[in-house]
């Protein structure tokens, strides 16, 4: 009896907390709806919430959300996987080789702040407008942050540890696979977490610029034909996708590397 009522109180408190948290979002939705109701803006520019939701349902049933979403996700994650492999291997090698460090350091520091999206026309020229050019553009955008993150981890191993291992006769390859790589793992994970949204954004944006299907392509197609409700649906899908993956990565981190604190979550 007692536990029952306290459970009831708890769920009421939870509902209250949820309402308190989401009231600004509800206000925005209300303002959006009122603007449409009072005909302050033409529906061509801002369709009302109901129209967008029903369009969402229509597109979901017809497969016009899932299809492009899968295409975009495959591109983003294929590119990201490529970037992780290349970035980690390059960073670990750089951490152990003075010459490679000397050779790559100025190139990386010049290329790092460059807006990679400006390479879209070049990737179209080299690899066409299909999957290859998008996957490689995503990889190109993500590889430098991955490299830098891994390099920080790999060079963070204390010199004493390396000396001790060497004194005990550890070979260079064992040193890499048994000591430096495991020590860099949290940094590699941190790098992946930062680059997941970058990969998604790059895939979407490249599709918006160059076409070739995917969510970005579908969004531009809808905009060109002034199908504003569809435009809103695709923006919403991109938002949800980003949100879901960000939270997924956070959960993964708290499971795999629970000793890292959550201060940068925000």
């Amino acid at each position: 009896m007692n536990s029952e009522s306290s459970r009831g109180a708890k769920s009421i408190a939870a509902i209250k907390a949820a309402l308190l948290y989401s009231y600004p979002l509800l206000l925005v939705l209300l303002a959006w709806e009122v603007a449409g109701y009072l005909e302050l803006v033409r529906p061509l520019f801002l369709p009302d919430v109901g129209t967008v939701l029903s369009q969402f349902w229509t597109l979901l049933l017809s497969g016009e959300i899932v299809g492009p979403l899968v295409v975009s996700l495959l591109r983003a994650f294929a590119g990201l996987a490529l970037a992780v492999i290349v970035g980690v291997v390059a960073a670990l090698t750089m951490a152990r080789s003075k010459w490679l460090r000397w050779a790559l350091d100025p190139l990386i520091s010049f290329a790092f702040p460059a807006p990679k999206i400006a390479f879209v026309p070049i990737f179209i020229l080299w690899f066409g407008i299909g999957n290859t050019s998008k996957i490689l553009l995503v990889a190109f955008t993500c590889v430098l942050p991955m490299l830098v993150a891994t390099y920080h981890g790999a060079t963070g191993v204390s010199q004493q540890t390396i000396w001790s291992a060497k004194a005990m006769g550890t070979s260079e390859s064992k040193l890499l696979t048994r000591i430096i790589f495991p020590a860099s793992l949290p940094y590699i994970f941190g790098g992946v977490r930062v680059t997941v949204p970058v990969a998604l954004i790059t895939a979407f944006t490249a599709e918006m610029i160059a076409g070739g299907g995917g969510l970005g392509g579908a969004l531009m197609y809808a905009q060109r034909f002034f199908q504003t409700p569809t435009v809103f649906v695709y923006i919403l899908v991109m938002l949800i996708t980003g949100f879901v993956f960000d939270h997924f990565m956070l959960r993964l981190r708290s499971r795999w590397i629970p000793w890292q604190d959550d201060t940068d979550a925000a």
């Binding site: 100025p106 790092f112 460059a114 807006p115 400006a118 998604l200 435009v231 923006i235 925000a266």
Partner: protein, 252 residues
């Protein structure tokens, strides 16, 4: 000099693979061709004009977004009501790819400055809000209590305590935002624009004048690199009093 040797070697390699016919000139113009094309664009004033358009859109958007971000971050960190109002909005829009708003903004505002800059402002806003918020929240409560106990008025608190203490964190947010601002301007310009370096690169790519396309790309890479260096120099200057900067510099 020795440090920059790899860059020169890279350029030499680029020149060699094209001149020796390893790579088809139609796929990759040589370095000298690219520089010659860039030089031509410079003389006609085409590159200067388009770079200027892209730069004021990017940095203008960055400036507006950063100012707004600092104000909102300060508000959220100091007022519970503001925090409760803005935090859910920030959390919801944080994971939205801002470039997805470009088609919508084109519909609303047409092609041009407003669309590009508004996207940049929105993209720059969030990292600066987060940076400011975390920076202000990290100010030790004892410092705040002491200042209040001594009767420090709010505007002095802001100028002498909160902002300087949060400066490092704010600037980290601004540097993150600098990375976004060129990307979004160029994305907007490539999707639809009348001017800007993104438009220029895309136009020459479409028309098959590849040396000019590479020339434009080289120009924007140099500008983005210079902006980043300039911001770092500015950060070092603004944080010259901060011991932790020197400590971390020595550590590396």
């Amino acid at each position: 000099m020795f440090r920059y040797l790899p860059l020169m070697l890279f350029v030499a390699l680029w020149q060699a693979v094209v001149d020796l016919g390893v790579v088809d000139r139609h796929f990759l113009p040589s370095f000298t061709q690219t520089v010659a094309a860039l030089w031509e664009l410079m003389q006609s004033g085409e590159i200067a004009w388009n770079l200027w358009v892209t730069t004021y859109r990017s940095l203008g958007g960055l400036a507006i977004g950063s100012l707004l971000g600092i104000v909102l971050g300060l508000l959220m960190a100091t007022s519970l009501a503001a925090d409760r109002f803005f935090a859910p909005l920030v959390a919801t829009t944080y994971s939205l790819p801002k470039s997805s708003l470009i088609p919508l903004f084109i519909l609303w505002f047409g092609v041009g400055d407003v669309t590009a800059m508004l996207t940049v402002v929105l993209a720059c806003l969030l990292p600066v809000i987060v940076g400011t918020y975390q920076g202000v929240k990290a100010v030790p409560a004892i410092t705040l209590w002491s200042a209040r106990a001594m009767g420090t008025p709010a505007h002095v608190m802001l100028r002498r305590i909160l902002l300087p203490a949060a400066m490092r964190s704010i600037l980290t947010g601004v540097r993150l935002a600098l990375g976004f601002c060129y990307v979004l301007t160029i994305s907007a310009e490539m999707i639809a624009a009348k001017a800007g370096i993104g438009k220029l690169i895309f136009f020459y790519g479409e028309s098959g004048s590849y040396p000019y396309m590479f020339g434009g790309l080289l120009a924007i890479m140099v500008v983005a690199y210079a902006s980043d260096r300039l911001l770092i120099a500015g950060m070092d200057y603004l944080l010259r009093w901060d011991d932790s900067v020197h400590a971390s510099a020595e550590h590396e």
